[in-house]
Amino acid sequence: MPRPDDELVRGRQRGRARVTALLLGAFVVLLFFITIAQASRNW
């Protein structure tokens, strides 16, 4: 079974982890602003 270069696998994992972290962070910020907008609409 050919083993891909460990460094290449780590690189891919690092890349995906970074993008996931960025998207999760953006989602948290978005959720915060959605909550504010919904709350001010319901006042």
Binding site: M1, P4, L8, R12, Q13, R16, L30, F33, A37, R41
Partner: protein
């Protein structure tokens, strides 16, 4: 017992760019644009962040459709030059990752839409995703030459969803916007399939030029452009839009019908000589962008 062979591509985790490619970003741009125009043309404007979230959800839903379409059609994509370099047929990603990504993205987009705007918009988004994946991709596309006609409904949902996200109601104008895209889809895709028909034939997809021949397809392209032009102009005489949209729709639709007429008159069977078909395909994309831009301009300027 033979050992299970694992290739290097199966062991290697997919790159995040391959997940992005799975969402078909170029197709998404038209979906996002029409959804945004539906939202901007609505009589009530939601707060910016809620409008932004609605469009984001439409984009994510479209991305989910792209991913699930590529998951289901990986073997077909491998047979077509146009699609052979996609992540799945190229071996850069395993099918299960594409399935999980598509289902996750679709579910997320519907739930977020419901929480941020209203559940009618979320329900329409869910229906559009399920319609595209189950009715179009799985059921119609491999079975009938009418796949584009009925499947076109899936791409017609975004302006309706945008409008409902803003107002919470289904009204006459967004239903007409739905009808315009629904009737625009057959001439748009059949113009393309006329000059890439060998790809579809090789993949066993029963597109109209493959099943019914070139002349019949050209006739259908022209015939569909007539009710499409009628639906595009209709909002003006019905009093749903003003003269900016009405005049733009009339001119743009007239040019569309003229180009469809040139396709009807063309008799060549050689894809390289199908200039009329290529012009109509390119113009059809411009047509939809211009028509929806005119709709928003009419709402905001008039």
């Amino acid at each position: 017992m033979p050992a299970i062979e694992m290739t290097e591509t199966a062991v290697l985790p997919a790159d995040w760019r391959d997940f992005l490619a799975l969402t078909k970003p170029r197709v998404m741009s038209l979906v996002v644009f029409t959804g945004l125009c539906g939202l901007l043309a609505a009589p009530a404007m939601p707060p910016f962040v809620l409008g932004f979230t609605a469009i984001l959800c439409i984009a994510l839903g479209a991305g989910a459709c792209g991913a699930l379409n590529q998951w289901y059609e990986a073997d077909i994509d491998a047979k077509m030059r146009r699609t052979a370099k996609r992540p799945l047929p190229d071996g850069r990603m395993d099918r299960q990752s594409a399935l999980h990504f598509g289902v996750g993205l679709g579910s997320f987009s519907v739930i977020l839409m419901g929480l941020a705007t209203n559940w009618l918009a979320a329900g329409l988004l869910a229906v559009s995703i399920l319609f595209y994946v189950l009715v179009y991709t799985v059921w119609l596309k491999p079975r009938t030459a009418q796949n584009i006609v009925i499947g076109g409904a899936a791409g017609a949902f975004p302006p309706l969803i945008g409008w409902v996200a803003a107002t919470g109601r289904v009204e006459a104008l967004p239903l007409l916007l739905f009808a315009i895209i629904f009737l625009w889809t057959p001439p748009h895709f059949w113009a393309l399939s006329l000059f890439v028909r060998s790809d579809y034939a090789a993949a066993g997809i029963p597109m109209l030029p493959v099943v019914a021949g070139l002349d019949n397809t050209r006739r259908q392209v022209f015939l569909y452009s007539l009710p499409m032009a009628g639906a595009a102009v209709a909002p003006w005489p019905l009093g749903l839009t003003g003269p900016i949209y009405g005049a733009s729709a009339a001119i743009l639709s007239f040019v569309f019908v003229v180009l469809a007429g040139r396709v009807l008159a063309n008799r060549t069977t050689e894809p390289s000589a199908m200039a009329a078909e290529k012009h109509l395909f390119a113009y059809s994309v411009f047509y939809l962008f211009a028509l929806f831009t005119a709709l928003v301009a009419d709402r905001w300027i008039a």
